[in-house]
Symmetry: C2
Subunit: 272 residues, 2 copies
């Protein structure tokens, strides 16, 4: 009998839909509850304390929905809050950082790895630290790209400007001969074409959403971690919750992330 | 005897410091309490309901500090929440929108006025409506510039990119022969040099912070609106509160807005 699990996933906003898409591709028979903290997004420029507090509140909401596995789709929250969440809750908690680090360490040949992300993610030093921990002799070059998220969310039409911004942020990597580039923010896969054009064909681009999806599949395979029996009648339709009104989430999610969204519910009680 | 008043001012973050600077220039003997809602900023892309809720919470906090006048330094909040705040609280409430509209209507010669702001401000239509209301025959051209705030807050060093973004957003105005451009976001005065270079010398640039400061002076002159007597011993030092930790606020405020900041206190109890 197939085990069906209920996966709760949160992100600061709409970006985590790139993770949802990948995890669903690997676990197509399971159920998903997604929470986007749109009233308080973005997390990228905020303090550690605030990001940890928001992460606990978001997780508490999802756990009340009776989930079996919690996925922190947000890189900023994965960087800063994962240990706290793992200690606080008694279900498996999976972030996007560790799976991405493991994949980057596996694919690099010259051990020169570039990481791009929000200001908070890069300043946290988590990617730099975890890569150095598992890959002896690793040289990690990290670059915050704070204009990428607004560039993507605003669907900035001018290709010239988008290219210039990408070129500016990637400049340090070209000089440093990296062979692997880790996209340390949920939005960045949407810039992959421009990033690829700029960085050249020889650099491996690591998308943490794919790494996270593989890790989720592995956790599910180890069914012993789940305390409950197989659910019946199996897969339920996706549920989407946001903390602001859903208009903008739906617009960006559907038009730009290309994901068809059902009813989106707004919850404000615990997300002020 | 000089009347000393205590002015409470809030903004979604650090941008309102441009308003503080102007109001203080006009009212140098009065006391200021500034609140920056840095844990939930920016407001620019959020819904009306959420922005109104945040505005009420911020104002409630300031009014508990025993202020005489409330200034909403944030254009998004001024656009969406001013009427609610005026009805809810029994002290004078001043926004940045109406004074700016009055000034723009006064300086335009050809009645063709451009307005730039965040997505929420422009979509609210408030500037367009209020300008049309007080200036018969006004042609108002509005343009959201969602990359300007991150461009400024990240102190994006590349002048070429900054110029290209400014050029792109201002393009519609150049074709439409406006003679007045209203900077409908607290941050935008920091881009004034680039905007001036792009828009040319003949367009009047209206900075709402200056218009708001003039309006505050006028309200103070009409002392009858204040229920309390002159305070003693007069001016108290500025007080600054934020809802996230103050590091980033201080950094941007001091380095970029050029304002010397004393101790900044974090308050989280009512700003989740």
């Amino acid at each position: 009998m197939t085990l069906h699990i209920k996966i709760g996933m949160f992100d600061s906003g709409v970006g985590g839909l790139t993770v949802l898409r990948e995890v669903e591709r690997f676990l197509p028979t399971d159920s998903f509850i997604y929470f986007g903290d749109t009233a308080r997004c973005p997390y990228g420029g905020k303090s550690n304390t605030t990001i940890i507090r928001y992460s606990i509140e978001n997780s508490t909401f999802l756990i009340k929905q009776d989930i079996d596995l919690l996925i922190v789709a947000c890189h900023t929250a994965s960087s800063l809050a994962l240990d706290t969440l793992t200690k606080t809750f008694n279900i498996p908690v999976l972030g996007v950082v560790r799976p991405a680090v493991a994949l980057a360490a596996k694919v690099t040949q010259n051990k020169r790895i570039g990481v791009i992300g929000t200001k908070a993610t890069i300043q946290s030093g988590v990617y730099q630290k975890e890569l150095s921990d598992i890959l002896s002799g690793a040289v990690v070059l990290a670059q915050a790209c704070p204009l990428f998220v607004p560039l993507i969310e605003e669907q900035f039409a001018n290709e010239t400007i988008s290219k210039l911004i990408v070129k500016e942020y990637l400049k340090p990597f070209k000089e440093e001969k990296i062979d692997t580039l880790l996209l340390g923010c949920t939005h960045y896969p949407l810039l992959e074409r421009l990033i690829r054009e700029e960085i050249g064909p020889d650099v491996q681009i690591v998308n943490p959403a794919t790494a996270c999806a593989q890790a989720a599949l592995k956790i599910k395979g180890d069914a012993a971690v789940f305390t409950k029996q197989a659910r019946s009648p199996g897969k339920i339709p996706h549920q989407f919750f946001v903390s602001d009104d859903p208009h903008s989430f739906r617009q960006i999610g559907e038009r730009f992330f290309g994901i068809e969204l059902p009813v989106i519910q707004t919850v404000t009680s615990t997300f002020h």
